[in-house]
């Protein structure tokens, strides 16, 4: 009986550890791939802003790609990973139009910000990673009248 109690503790510890690591790695891999598709999408979408701050529609579409895999997801769409929301997706534009000069952005960086991976006994907070930068290869199409 004592043996069983001892080994059960040990085994339970092992299984918990396996679950925690397994889930954390799985989650990270899903996020890595989601960030990748988001960055690729952002690097090709026509850039419709007058500054390095992207337009709301542009940012929303990129965030939707990361979270739902779709720039315009249906209302009941499920995120690629439980708990992931648009506010966890950060889009950073490097270069881009400024002070009236019209230069297309140099690159698009998509990263995960303040996302908590809950795996029962511990919480892994991902802030700033995974992150991916692609060079911008789309066209600059600022709105009319400016």
């Amino acid at each position: 009986m004592i043996e069983f109690a001892l080994s059960a503790t040990l085994l339970a510890g092992f299984f918990t550890g396996i679950f925690q690591y397994g889930y954390a790695f799985y989650a990270y891999n899903v996020l890595e791939n989601a960030v990748r598709s988001g960055a690729r999408y952002a690097s090709l979408k026509p850039y419709d802003s007058h500054s390095a701050v992207p337009s709301e529609a542009f940012q929303l579409a990129v965030q939707n790609i990361v979270v739902y895999g779709d720039p315009d997801p249906p209302r009941n769409a499920a995120p690629v990973l439980g708990g992931l929301t648009r506010s966890n997706v950060k889009l950073t534009v490097t270069g881009g139009p400024a002070g009236g000069s019209l230069v297309a952005p140099a690159s698009m960086t998509v990263s995960i910000s303040r996302f908590r991976v809950n795996s029962i006994f511990s919480v892994l907070t991902l802030d700033g990673r995974p992150s991916l930068t692609f060079p911008y290869t789309g066209v600059l199409t600022p709105p009319r009248g400016s």
Partner: protein
């Protein structure tokens, strides 16, 4: 009782045997999980580096040098791409370049891959290979047991190929065309009628350049002017194909 004493220690033995199996499962969960992550990270890094480098190619040896620097640049700076859950810097990055096939301009000619081509003309494709050695925590023991060798690292590599690919069949409702046309109509800058002066003004990068079916056009207010190859999003005119009178419109894409 006799039977009872014979069964003493049974749980302990079974636990020890089970631990072997469980260590294997832990190896799968931890090491294989990490391998998948590292593989994804390297793939992203190689793709990003190949795209960045391909934008620099313009058929000159200076373009090759710029491309080689561009490959290295993705591992440093504020947006540096890293591996092992974004904690380590990739040091083994190799780049090679290729021309396109004459028959199929969107595919690299596999006979021309070279790390440093002597004649850089028409080199439009970049392949980046990223390699790392991932330290293993559980699998190493099993590998040593099965092969008799003490291996505690896994070699992981990923390769990304990108290149300037020709835009041939643009759909009739090319989504960017209208927006760009509006932009041109509003444009008050009339001073850069050709590609060279346009670049000189530091205003390259796709503002008034639009790809149309059948060729490349540099668009100026009030009309269009055909000017030879260009690459969407690049400050350089691009390498073009070895077809005479090439005025293709190119966009950098991942091809593998």
């Amino acid at each position: 009782m006799v039977t009872r004493s014979k069964r003493k220690g049974y749980v302990l033995i079974m636990t020890c045997l089970a631990l072997l199996v469980i260590a294997g499962i832990a190896g799968l969960a931890v090491d294989v999980g990490r391998m998948y992550i590292v593989k994804s990270e390297l793939q992203s890094l190689a793709d990003s580096a190949a795209l960045t480098a391909s934008l620099q190619l313009d058929g000159s040896s200076a373009g090759i040098v710029r491309a080689q620097l561009a490959v290295k640049s993705v591992t440093s700076g504020t947006n540096a791409l890293k591996w092992d859950m974004a904690t380590k810097t990739v040091s083994d990055l190799t780049a090679s370049f290729a021309r396109g096939l004459s028959a199929a301009p969107n595919s690299p000619d596999d006979t021309t891959w070279s790390a440093n081509p002597a004649d850089a003309s028409y080199y439009r494709f970049t392949r980046v290979v990223a390699r790392v050695a991932l330290p293993l925590s559980f699998m190493g023991a099993f590998h040593a047991y099965s092969s008799g060798k003490n291996i505690n690292e896994a070699a992981i590599a990923a390769s990304g190929v990108a290149g300037q690919t020709m835009v041939t069949n643009l759909p009739a409702t090319y989504p960017d065309a209208n927006a760009i046309q509006v932009r041109i109509t509003d444009d008050s800058d009339q001073k850069s009628p050709d590609y060279a002066s346009y670049v000189k003004m530091g205003r390259g990068n796709g503002r008034r350049i639009v790809g149309l079916a059948g060729g490349a056009f540099f668009v100026k207010p009030g009309g269009v002017e055909s000017i030879g190859p260009f690459v969407q999003g690049s400050l350089y005119p691009g390498a073009g194909t070895d077809t005479a009178g090439d005025t293709g419109s190119y966009v950098v894409r991942l091809v593998e």
